[in-house]
Symmetry: C2
DNA sequence: TTTGTGCATTATGTCGTACATATAAAACTC
DNA sequence: GAGTTTTATATGTACGACATAATGCACAAA
């Protein structure tokens, strides 16, 4: 079958896209070629419709998509202007754990592990003394918690969330917030087992101590060990 | 002024959202509450319009947004069904470097550094012997390249791209592809200086050697040093 | 000159209808 | 029963009308 298909390899794929699809691409092209910057305004809907020879309906649907991507903003009477998209906001809406397929969820989970290990440098270089005090406050009664060996998700989020906050990287921070429902889903759905105590484990408290030495390399290794039982 | 405003803190923000905005949220809510899964179909446009007391136009615009987010798929006669969104595809369209504001670009660049350092474990654990051979092939004439100390972006992408590929994490891989235009923009726009040779530098060739030892910790440190001149 | 009010203008937002198009499912042919 | 045609139906596109909100202008009041 595949053999047979190969002999038709010159056939081009039929155009299955709707007018809205085409207009959308056209507009994106327009943005890029015209080197439009944030704040620039684009022609009004009726002008675009006229220019591109389609109905206002189609133009509106296309613009609506661009708006969904966060690329434009429209106001009555004022018209449509270019906007810098909030990429995390867009993701936030489309990431609904129970709808995302499992392989993507797994991918995202791995991505998080990589991020937390890799961001060690930023945490170490940007943590203020106040930050460290705050972390100490968070971990101060860790003994009691680690004693019963319970995996307290709220506590985890509080600690790791603070680390993200320290990076002073807004995108990264938002990224983490947006991933929280994913963790919850993964853990509660049994897609991944809850971690249990293990050999090379580094506690939150130990992590803070490492952070205090201001040695990025050490901190990174510590973080890796801390996450040990999440790696398979 | 700000002091005065604070005393009105109980005032709630006026609802500035359009019907389409509301219907969109309503639909998202519907998806979550009804625990809709991939493949489930939702009521047809006219039914929704009737149910929610708005025109088909509004329903269509809302659905169009969900489609843009990749959450639904529509076919004539068949109707609308839930889909697992391709989160990287959505980002791909909205990431137009010269439109994104500079702070976000910087954030994204940092994010990449963290990822590449943090994904060391996955690279080491998943690299096949064939992968390593391929890497060796890529770096085989590195001497000549590093000799003139030129920062060859194509070569960089080829090597690092292969590393992403090795992780066997599709989301991560797509994520990298999607970030490429960002790198190009950052480098070509002078937003960040092109790296120059530096002390702790680890070459691609050395990285492959580290990979061959299958020691994740070593490889991670090597990668961190390799990226040294990208960290500020 | 400044401040407030009202009105006209204008571009997007919403609505309803009509028809085009694709296609799943039923009806039909052999 | 397999293949073909017809029919019904849900989305896609188009158009016209009006609603709504923001803008700017004109004019009046302080």
């Amino acid at each position: 079958m595949m053999e047979k298909l190969r002999s038709f390899s010159t056939l081009s794929a039929i155009d299955n896209s709707s007018m809205v699809d085409k207009v959308e691409l056209s507009l994106l092209d327009f943005f890029i070629n015209k080197q439009l910057k944030v704040g620039d305004s684009i022609p009004k809907e009726l002008e675009l419709a006229d220019l591109m020879g389609v109905s206002r309906t189609v133009i509106r649907e296309s613009l609506n998509r661009l708006r969904t991507m966060g690329l434009i903003e429209t106001k009555k009477k004022k018209g449509t202007v270019i906007k810098s998209p909030d990429i995390t906001l867009i993701l936030q809406k489309s990431i609904i754990p129970h709808i995302l397929d499992h392989s993507t969820l797994r991918d995202i989970f791995e991505l998080r592990l990589a991020l937390e290990v890799g961001m060690a440098d930023f945490v170490v270089s940007k943590a203020t003394n106040e930050d460290i005090l705050e972390l100490l406050e968070i971990v101060k009664d860790e003994e009691s918690q680690s004693a019963n060996a319970l995996f307290d998700i709220d506590y985890e989020i509080k600690f790791h969330g603070k680390l993200y906050e320290i990076t002073a990287n807004d995108t990264l921070r938002e990224f983490q917030k947006l991933l929280l429902p994913v963790y919850n889903y993964i853990y509660s759905s049994g897609l991944l087992n809850l971690p249990t105590a293990q050999k090379k484990f580094t506690s939150h408290k130990q992590l803070v101590e490492l952070l205090q030495t201001r040695d990025a390399e050490q901190f990174r290794v510590g973080m890796r060990h801390h996450l040990e039982n999440h790696f398979l």
